[in-house]
Structures are given as structure tokens and as C-alpha cells.
Symmetry: C2
């Protein structure tokens, strides 16, 4: 760990989520550097903005801002220029370029990304849908879903469903257990909407042993038995072949990565926006 | 709607989530401009990168890239410079500045933000926790949760729980109905972890009428009755006072905004990172 302590100030008139993401992506590249992230969000008054900038200056911080009002952007950029503060203005460059090309004025509404429009309510519905139709709770969900996820235990079905729901997609999932009853509705779903999740047997074995330990149980139960896992995976793969759906091995993938692959493969990228 | 059609190309060696967020925040400012978002993600080969850049050039696109390899950043920035393409490099400025200050080399691992570390698995657990302890399903969850959300019907408890779970926080929620049994565990929870959600009666009335209509039912049932709603809200507010928890009126707030307020008030911002 180096001695340097670096401050990054997120300054925003809204949630500051976008700026935080950039900061976090950068921090993830420097695991040995001490970095303190400070958020000054929902700034609506000029005084508040100046106070945040002054604090950032006191810490010789890296400033990342997402400000939508012309005046606030101007104040922040001027202040950082005068005080020799490193400043990244995330909103203006793209906004100005769109303005230059279209001649349209931006709405300059802070947090426009989070406005309570139809898209927003669809997303909320998608999240409630994911909880309602998680874990094969109700097979009727398959017919209404944008995506149906299938997979044996510990292939991230639930977190993946929730992550995709947050992107405005209705997801139902079904855990696969050999000899389990496969609901008839599944055969009525367009295979292009179905995703079969699979994993490496060795990894599943390890994950399941850990899980048993966490429960204070014997790690070598049939749940974590390698032959048993192999059998489950074969059952799942057979079903995927019969259904004709895509198959993704989640072994080395985070849910963000798996989600991105699903959106690409199912051609749902365009429907996956927040706003 | 203006005739201009503007292309924004997201080019990334990982999910491209950060760049997409910037693009979407900008698009949200220009509702009357036709903007097409194209994603070229998980780029690992130089050829792929050059193809994506060529396509962007063919569409005279605005390019936003998150690339971590030195070589790819260099290729992208050079190409855009030579072809006079508008280009926003999101990763390099902050990464270079951290390097300048710390003297440390970045790991240059693509998708480092999504690495499968302990933090990642904690987040997956948090998502499963949210589903398990949604809707007061099991009061034991209250004692283990980082945040306990309380609220009458239609105050966004479920989506809010899921959104916060995605930020690595364990959330349990309890719907409030007058005269309902309040689980004894709730009184054992530190009030600083509890959030009481409330809403404006008129808005709740409207939301609930819509919900009844969506179900094909009479919109003027007792569920949407204004006196009934008032009574429910009073019951909830009384409970919040007794518990001594913070209260948030979600009337004009998106879940992102409510979540940001909760993190600020409960001083959980520092724990809410992805990586």
C-alpha cells in the first residue's frame, strides 16, 4: 500500500451514480492505492456547489462532476481551472456535441435519467415480476417473460434475474433438478427467449461445499457430490438441446458479464435502457 | 422530432455499462432528438476494435469508450483523431491522474470492476437476501439486515430493496397494513437501520386505482379509498415515530433517488460500492 491518499470528489445535481461508476472503475484498476471517494450529490444551490468545490480543493481532490445546469457546469469548471484542480466534466462534452449536431436545446433537468416516465414504471414492474416469478414459483410467468432463465442450483439465476429486471426486462427463472417436473408452459415459450445456464462441475462442487459449510453442515453431502452434479448438468444440457435455447457457461463470468452476453445474444440491448 | 439521426457508439473491452450510463444520461436531456445507441462490447482483439471504430466512422458517430489496455486506448484515440470523430475517453483521464499521483501502475485488467472477489460474492448474497426477506416473509431477516424498509402498499419497497441489494447491502422489507401484527424482531433492530417509507395520499389513491384497472377490477375498492389510505398512512407514521426511524416521502422520487437519500441518511455510502 503506498502512502499517498487520493481523494475523488463526485459532485452532482442528481444521484451521482454515473460519476461514481467511473470512479469505481478507475479505483478497481489501482488496488494498492488508498483512494477515498466523497459524494456531494443532489446539489441544488450555488452555495452548496461552492462548498463542495472548496472541500475538494482542501483535499487536492480529483473532481468528477455530472451537472446539468449551464451555470453550475460553468462554476465548477471555472473553479477547478482557477484552483488547478483536476476536473472531469462528464455531461457537457456529449451534451454539447448533441446540441451542435441537432440544434436542439437540452432540457437541463437534473436527474432527467431518473424521471418518473412510462419507462420507469415498466422497470419497477419488471423488478416486481422478477421477485414474483423467481425460482419457478409460478409457471404462468414464462409466457409473459422477456427472458426465461433455466439452470441448476448455483448458476446465479436469482441475482441475474434481478440485474436484468433493473434493465427493464421481465425475467422468470426455473431451477433444474433431475427428474423434476418441467412445467408444460416452458414448451410454449419461444426458444429465442430462453437461456440455459450451466457451470463447470468442479466449480459447482466447490461452491456447494462452501455453502454446506456456511450452513454448518457436512460439506460432502449428495448436494456437493461430483457425480451427482455431473448428472444434474447432463439433465440440464439435454433439456437445453430439446428446447433449442442458447447455453451460457457462467463459470468465470460475473452477473454483469453474463447479463451483457444474454442481451447481445437475445438482441435485447436496445430494450435494456434506463431512460 | 428533428430529422437528425445521431449515432453514439459505446466501445468497451468489458460490459460497457459505464459508457452506456453516460450516453443514456445525455440522451435523457434530448427527448426530441433521434439518437441511436450502438454497443460494441467485450472487445479483446485489435481487429474487432478497428472494425468497431470503422463502423463508428461510417455513421459519423459520437464515440464513448472504456478501454483499459494502453494499446487499445491509444488505437481508439488515434483513430478518432485522424478521422475527426468526436471521442470521449472515459477511463484514461482518471487512471492517468491516479498514476501521476501514486506512481503505481494500473492493473489494466479489463472488467476489473466485475472481478469475482469477496465483494462480488457479498453482493450476490445481498440479492438473494433481498428476495428471501422481501415482503416480511421471514422476520428473522430484520436482525441480519443492513437496512429494514417499512411502508404501506405501493411505496416501492420491493424494487428499492433489489436496487440497494445490487449495491451490496442486505435489505429486508415489511409491508404495513393497519392492525397488522408487527413482528417483535422489529423492536430489536437499531432504529438507525430502519427507514419508514410514506407517500402522498392522492398519489397512492391514483396508483392503486390504476393497479385495480390493470387487474380488470373496479378501481374504487377499499384498497384505493382515500380515507382508508389516510388511515394506513397514519398507522405507518405512528409506528415510525415509536420506532424513531427516519421517514422518506417517495411521492416524487425515483428508486435511484430514494436509494441515494437512504445511503446518505444511514451513512452507508461508503459501503455501497460495486468493487
Amino acid at each position: 500500500m503506498t502512502k499517498t491518499n487520493i481523494y475523488i470528489y463526485i459532485i452532482s445535481d442528481s444521484v451521482g451514480e454515473t460519476a461514481a461508476k467511473i470512479a469505481q472503475a478507475s479505483i478497481a484498476q489501482y488496488l494498492n492505492v488508498n483512494i477515498t471517494l466523497v459524494r456531494r450529490t443532489f446539489i441544488t444551490e450555488k452555495d452548496e456547489l461552492l462548498r463542495a468545490l472548496k472541500d475538494a480543493d482542501d483535499h487536492d481532490a480529483i473532481v468528477i462532476h455530472t451537472l446539468t445546469s449551464d451555470q453550475f457546469v460553468h462554476i465548477a469548471n471555472e473553479y477547478c481551472g482557477e484552483h488547478n484542480l483536476f476536473c472531469m466534466d462528464l455531461m457537457s462534452p456529449i451534451m454539447n456535441e448533441i446540441y451542435r449536431r441537432s440544434g436542439e436545446q437540452p432540457s437541463r433537468v437534473a436527474g432527467a435519467l431518473h424521471s418518473l416516465n412510462q419507462n420507469y414504471f415498466n422497470r419497477i414492474n419488471a423488478m416486481e415480476f422478477a421477485v414474483k416469478y423467481d425460482d419457478g414459483k409460478d409457471p404462468k410467468g414464462f409466457l409473459e417473460a422477456d427472458i426465461v432463465l433455466l439452470g441448476v442450483s448455483r448458476t446465479s439465476k436469482t441475482p441475474l434475474s434481478l440485474f436484468l429486471a433493473n434493465k427493464n426486462l421481465k425475467v422468470a427463472n426455473l431451477p433444474l433438478v433431475p427428474q423434476a417436473h418441467i412445467p408444460k408452459q416452458l414448451w410454449e415459450v419461444d426458444p429465442k427467449k430462453i437461456v440455459g445456464l450451466t457451470n463447470d462441475p468442479i466449480i459447482l462442487n466447490k461452491i456447494r461445499q462452501e455453502r454446506m459449510k456456511a450452513y454448518g453442515l457436512d460439506p460432502n453431502t449428495s448436494y456437493s457430490n461430483l457425480d451427482k452434479i455431473q448428472e444434474e448438468l447432463e439433465f440440464a444440457n439435454d433439456l437445453y438441446r430439446q428446447l433449442g435455447c442458447i447455453v451460457i457457461n457462467v463459470a468465470d463470468l460475473s452477473i454483469e458479464e453474463t447479463a451483457a452476453i444474454i442481451l447481445k445474444e437475445l438482441k435485447l440491448e436496445d430494450r435494456s435502457y434506463y431512460a
